[in-house]
């Protein structure tokens, strides 16, 4: 069986509160918080980027997996904010964590589901017998236009998963994906900030794909809602995943451990997988987790993850996602602007 041998996450320390952003634009903080179900978001330091976040997450995953990094045969990193448009983040990370040079690598882009696509890619290479272990990472340092609604949620963070067949902490029972050409949220080349279709990003985009992929997974594996102890959906805000859960017939309590958006915002390619990591941090052996990512443009990858007996011993080695969420320092809008725009 294929599964997660080790996982790890990273969230930068700085936070900016919704109140702080709202005060600059003269907006009503309370109604924004109630509407988005977000209190504050993470802000990367001036010397952090997708590569540095990926390295920290990957080192945590390695610490948990306790494997020789040179046995990693593939690295895929998904992001909307790769440091270079041309020059892979995955080789920077490979070099930083000591993978050696005998591996394949590529960077992926599919908005916020680029990381989960990477998980599917390594699963294929492992099942095909081409590699022993694969590393899939989703990380972002998301940019948002000042004054735009996305400014309250676009944040930074990432998670890394080492996939393999040995000593797994959780089995990946199966995966199902759904992809269409739906331009709900996009960014043209050389343009600084993304654009989006407003309310179009809801039903025809996020919900259509999340629901289809999740239903498709459950049908394929012959599982139903009650078979899952926890559920994680991509979190562009706090409301969408709750609504998706309702549409799919899941009890909203099942979302709680993975509901990282409230205190760190939307980490884009890191979003659903940080939620998965946070859930794995507290799940017991035998419990089952459903995770469905969503990437604009558009598509969803859905997975069924079943926790094994090895998880309690192995996850003790590494800092928990909640620890990263709790380790924080607030910044003012002025400092936030300096950090994000490098002024």
């Amino acid at each position: 069986m294929i599964g997660i041998v080790g996982y790890g996450g990273y969230v930068p320390r700085f936070r900016i509160k919704v109140e702080e952003i709202a005060s600059v634009w003269g907006s009503n903080a309370k109604s924004i918080k109630d509407g988005l179900l977000v209190d504050e978001k993470s802000v990367p330091s001036i010397d952090e980027d997708t590569a540095t976040i990926s390295v920290e997450a990957a080192l945590n995953a390695l610490k948990m997996a306790q494997i020789n990094p040179q046995k990693i045969g593939a690295i895929y990193i998904g992001s909307e904010s790769h440091p270079y448009a041309v020059k892979p983040t995955s080789t920077i990370v490979g070099e930083a964590i000591g993978v050696g040079s005998e591996f394949t690598a590529a960077d992926t882009e599919f908005a916020c589901k680029a990381g989960t696509a990477g998980i599917q890619m390594v699963m294929g290479l492992i099942k095909g017998g081409y590699i022993e272990f694969g590393l899939a990472i989703g990380a972002d340092t998301a940019q948002s236009k000042p004054g735009d609604a996305l400014e309250y949620t676009a944040s930074a963070g990432g998670a890394a998963f080492i996939v393999g067949k040995k000593n797994i902490v959780a089995e990946i029972e199966g995966t199902f994906s759904c992809s269409t050409d739906t331009p709900d949220f996009w960014r043209r080349d050389t343009v600084e900030y993304p654009s989006h279709g407003g309310r179009f990003t809801g039903i025809p985009a996020y919900f259509k794909h999340v629901v289809s992929a999740t239903n498709g997974l459950m049908n394929k594996l012959n599982l139903k809602q009650s078979d899952f102890d926890f559920v994680v959906f991509h979190m562009p805000n706090g409301k969408f995943p709750l609504k998706a859960a309702k549409m799919l017939g899941f009890d909203s309590n099942k979302l709680t451990p993975g509901f990282v958006i409230k205190k760190i915002g939307n980490t884009y390619s890191g979003s659903s997988i940080l939620g998965l990591a946070a859930t794995l941090d507290i799940a017991k052996p035998g419990q089952r987790i459903l995770i469905t990512s969503y990437g604009s443009g558009a598509g969803s990858d859905s997975f069924s993850i079943k926790v094994t007996d090895l998880i309690e011993k192995k996850r003790k080695r590494v800092k928990k996602i909640q620890d990263y969420i709790d380790d924080k320092e607030y910044v003012t809008y002025a400092k936030y602007t300096r950090l994000r725009r490098g002024i």
Partner: protein, 134 residues
């Protein structure tokens, strides 16, 4: 386009900088980081091999740079420190993720991967290890 923009100059030191790989002399047992190409103790009798160092250590001394050298204007003020790694060697780097009271002689720190220098809008990004309090 000076040495700050040189690609090979940066590339050559990626391994020791990213992975904290130093050298150890098989003859005298001394460990060196930054890596040495010749054992300064044994000289021609020395035999150096790569060795990966633990990423933790403590602050021996520190300062805060407030007047920036070229390329670091966006980052001032930032602390720099001489750190003694638990494996022995000493190195110089920046301190990040620090709170009031962390900049102290003896404070324990661990390495973390960060951007060091970005060569403008078009040049390459130089990464390396900085240290954060544990």
């Amino acid at each position: 386009m000076g040495h700050e923009s040189s690609v090979p100059l940066f590339w050559r030191l990626i391994k020791p900088r990213y992975q904290l790989i130093g050298t150890k002399c098989k003859t005298c047992g001394n460990v060196f980081y930054p890596p040495k190409y010749l054992c300064p103790v044994c000289r021609k009798e020395g035999k150096l091999e790569d060795t990966k160092l633990k990423r933790t250590g403590k602050i021996l001394t520190f300062s805060i740079v407030r007047s920036a050298p070229t390329g670091f204007e966006k980052e001032v003020p930032y602390p720099v420190a001489i750190i003694e790694l638990d494996d022995g060697p000493r190195l110089t780097s920046q301190i990040v993720d620090w709170k009031e009271g962390d900049l102290k002689i003896g404070r324990r720190v661990e390495a973390c991967f960060r951007r060091i220098y970005t060569d403008g809008k078009e040049g390459i990004i130089n990464y390396g290890l900085k240290f954060r309090p544990v």
